[in-house]
């Protein structure tokens, strides 16, 4: 909860800093200069463009990985890793988390932990192999499945 305390103190300069263009990533004390002729705006534009190009390249890359490696664990891991990088880029630059992380981390960190943890715990019961018990819990003990030869508890 310390972030809120932090907020409590940060407010007072945040108020006047950007009087006219009441704008939000005006994090206190970090000035953008006058709105109309922001010298940094070309730099920003370039950053956005770079991210866009990177996203396109990454999309192509995941497509290429799929073509090259086909469907297997390595390609899946690589492709998902690329997806995570893409998502991080969008969040960090496009969603301005590079400026705003210090304001929203208090809520984003728990939700990030919670979402990953939930999927892991659910997988433990629903997808991973836990011996005899698992197939029954997944409703996999029917005769049709049994005929396939390898039971569902193998081959992961």
């Amino acid at each position: 909860m310390s972030d809120h305390q932090h907020g409590d103190h940060a407010h007072s300069h945040g108020i006047q800093a950007h009087g006219d263009h009441s704008h939000s990533h005006g994090d206190a004390g970090h000035s953008h200069g006058a709105p109309a002729h922001d010298p940094s705006h070309d730099a920003k534009f370039k950053a956005y463009l770079a991210v866009f190009v990177a996203l396109c390249v990454f999309t192509a890359a995941s497509f290429a990985i799929n073509l090259a490696l086909g469907h297997n664990l390595t390609s899946a891991a690589l492709i998902l890793a690329v997806a995570v990088v893409k998502a991080a880029l969008v969040a960090y630059i496009f969603m301005h988390l590079n400026h705003d992380w210090r304001l929203v981390y208090g809520i984003m960190t728990p939700v990030a932990i919670l979402s990953v943890m939930t999927v892991i715990i659910l997988s433990i019961d629903g997808a991973l192999v836990w011996g005899e018990n698992a197939p029954a819990a997944r409703g996999l003990n029917d005769p049709i499945e049994a005929k396939v030869g390898e039971g569902p508890s193998k081959g992961h």
């Binding site: 005006g26 019961d125 629903g126 018990n133 997944r138 409703g139 996999l140």
Partner: protein, 603 residues
């Protein structure tokens, strides 16, 4: 920054018409009171359903004259299908339409802006919308009683495949096994979905309001416990509800569109009927459902804990003992609450090794719960107790929550739970924590804030009568359920079975039912007191009748549109009760500057 410190209340103060003022109101106080009345009505409906359940359990074969019109086939005997419908809808209504709207809807709305010194919620329109989303939900919940096949009957937990099963695409949504699984279940799902949307809007609004709309000086660690509890509850809702929404959508899709999320690979056989091929996992529903619904039980208790903390400190005339510890323990309960859902599934076929983890986490929750209990006792210790009605209900809360918490620890141990799962022991636990705790907290809150809400007092004498009878009859009703449960009386079975009949325990069962009926009747005292006092109660002209400290008592009684005539400025925490130099009163409101050492600092 769009909100500057000197900004006066943002609304223009034009007078809205009757509709705008009382029906489509955007004023948080009116919305709170709307939630209050809605929940009270449903408390009545849910209560009647409970009594029907109890009647069936005590006298399974009795022909009840007044029910003859409703069950003509059975000459007034409650049928098993009807019984299923009654207990399912009793729980659903009590949870989704009574306890949650009471605590977060009524008290959340009424108290949050007033207690943090804001003129309204951050988003008044969203607030109004969140109330009005209750109504379609209520519509579905009520409509279900009148659809073919009757209302949902698979329990408030609606486990597949009993709840979700159907024959497949184009063959109707009802499973041949069970009539309530058709349109009734559909209505149940829609109702729960819409209530969820309403709560979600509320929770975003509450969090924003509490973070950004506090009065000058109201730092986080000067907020009353009620606000802390509401804050953490709102966060719980924001995190947990979306998962329930997904589960509900899946079940809705399974029911209406032929999807197979919860249908096992072999499909289902109903005698000669076969469903289409499946592929999903029935157990997945339980995981998703309890991922929400365990945090939801804390959604149903934390605000009550907050309210009770404030009331105890006020009427013990002592600072709340261990304020910070109270906050951390609420946060701890909330955090742990997300990793214990499996304790509802020890018997479900979930992997036992996973169960161990859930067991350990669940038992750990006892720690923060105990911290809270000891702090309440610490607050009372050597206090100058004033036994007003709200105080009595708060004391009732503390004592009976201990019983509910302890039975929770019993069940948290897997080996014990294997015996008592799905017995009346669970029912006893639920009712100790929800009836004699959450609802006691709600009663305490109503008696406490009533003067502020309506400008009149509720009768203290009848309030005490209400308390004593409710306390005694509540224990008569719910305590024996522990014994019945250990004697293996199963929950959700319409006729008492086996052991309890052999052991002669059916008399105890009948005793429970008689107590329950009496308990229901006693609530009429409350109802008359509540409604009567709105019009004829003793007038409350003071701003601060209880000599309390929090900001709502510095507003006019009842507060007008925009809440505060004097914009409040906060100088210290809310629990400064004690002796002050040069001051006759033993309280120091948050808006009063302190002279000398504060009572909370002398500990």
């Amino acid at each position: 920054m769009s909100v500057s410190p000197s900004t006066a209340p943002a609304h223009a103060h034009h007078e809205p018409g009757f509709l705008g003022k009382y029906v489509f109101s955007q004023d948080h106080k009116i919305i709170g009171i709307q939630f209050l009345f809605t929940s009270l009505i449903f408390l009545g409906i849910g209560g009647i359903l409970a009594l029907l359940v109890r009647i069936k359990l005590a006298w399974p074969m009795a022909e009840i004259p007044i029910l003859r019109d409703y069950f003509p086939d059975n000459a007034g005997v409650i049928s098993d299908t009807a019984y299923n419908m009654f207990f399912t809808m009793h729980a659903t209504i009590m949870i989704f339409f009574v306890i949650i709207p009471f605590l977060t809807g009524a008290f959340g709305n009424y108290c949050i802006p007033l207690m943090i010194g804001a003129d309204d919620m951050a988003f008044p329109k969203l607030n109004m919308l969140s109330y009005w989303f209750m109504w379609p939900a209520i519509g579905f919940a009520v409509a279900g009683f009148f659809v073919p096949g009757g209302h949902a009957g698979a329990g408030w937990t609606s486990y597949p495949t009993l709840a979700s099963g159907s024959l497949g695409v184009g063959q109707g949504i009802e499973s041949p096994a069970f009539p309530g699984s058709g349109w009734g279940q559909f209505c149940w799902l829609m109702a729960a979905l819409l209530v969820g949307v309403s709560s979600m809007m509320g929770s975003v609004n509450y969090i924003t309001t509490i973070i950004n709309m506090r009065a000058p000086g109201m730092t986080l660690f000067r907020m009353p416990m009620t606000i802390w509890a509401m804050f953490i509850t709102a966060i719980l809702q924001a995190f947990a509800l979306p998962v329930l929404t997904v589960a509900l959508v899946f079940q809705l899709m399974d029911k209406t569109m032929g999807s197979t999320f919860f249908l096992p690979p072999s499909g289902l056989d109903f005698g000669n009927y076969h469903s289409g091929p499946g592929g999903g996992q029935p157990l997945l529903w339980q995981h998703l459902f309890w991922f929400y619904s365990h945090p939801a039980v804390y959604i149903m208790i934390l605000p009550a804990m907050g309210i009770v903390s404030d009331i105890l400190s006020t009427f013990a005339r002592r600072p709340l003992f261990g304020y910070r510890a109270m906050i951390y323990s609420i946060a701890g309960i909330a955090g742990l609450g997300f990793i214990v859902w499996g304790h509802h599934m020890f018997q479900s076929g979930m992997d036992p090794r996973l169960g161990t983890g859930f067991m350990v986490a669940t038992i750990m929750i006892a720690l923060p719960s105990a911290v809270k209990t000891f702090n309440w006792l610490g607050t009372l210790f050597r206090g100058n107790l004033q036994f007003t009605t709200p105080m009595l209900f708060s004391l009732g809360f503390v004592s009976l929550f201990i019983i509910g918490g302890l039975s929770g620890i019993f069940m948290a141990a897997t080996p014990v739970d294997i015996k008592i799962h799905d017995t009346y022991f669970i029912v006893a636990h639920i009712h100790y924590v929800l009836f004699t705790s959450s609802l006691f907290g709600i009663f305490a809150g109503i008696y406490y804030w009533f003067p502020k809400m309506f400008g009149r007092f509720m009768s203290d004498k009848w309030g005490k009568v209400h308390f004593f009878l409710t306390f005694v009859l509540g224990n008569f009703t719910f305590f024996p359920m522990h014994i019945l449960g250990v004697a293996e009386m199963r929950r959700r079975i319409s006729t008492p079975q086996g052991t309890i009949l052999e052991g002669g325990l059916q008399n105890l069962n009948i005793f429970v039912s008689i107590s329950a009926i009496a308990l229901g009747l006693v609530q009429i005292i409350f109802l008359i007191n509540f409604l009567g006092s709105i019009f004829f109660g003793k007038r409350c002209t003071e701003r601060n009748p209880w000599k309390s400290n929090t900001l709502e008592w510095s507003a006019p009684t009842p507060p007008g549109h925009g809440n505060f005539d004097i914009p409040p400025v906060v100088y210290h925490g809310p629990y400064e009760y004690g002796n002050f130099e040069g001051k006759a009163d033993d309280n120091l409101m948050q808006t009063e500057k302190a002279v000398g050492v504060l009572p909370s600092q002398t500990h």
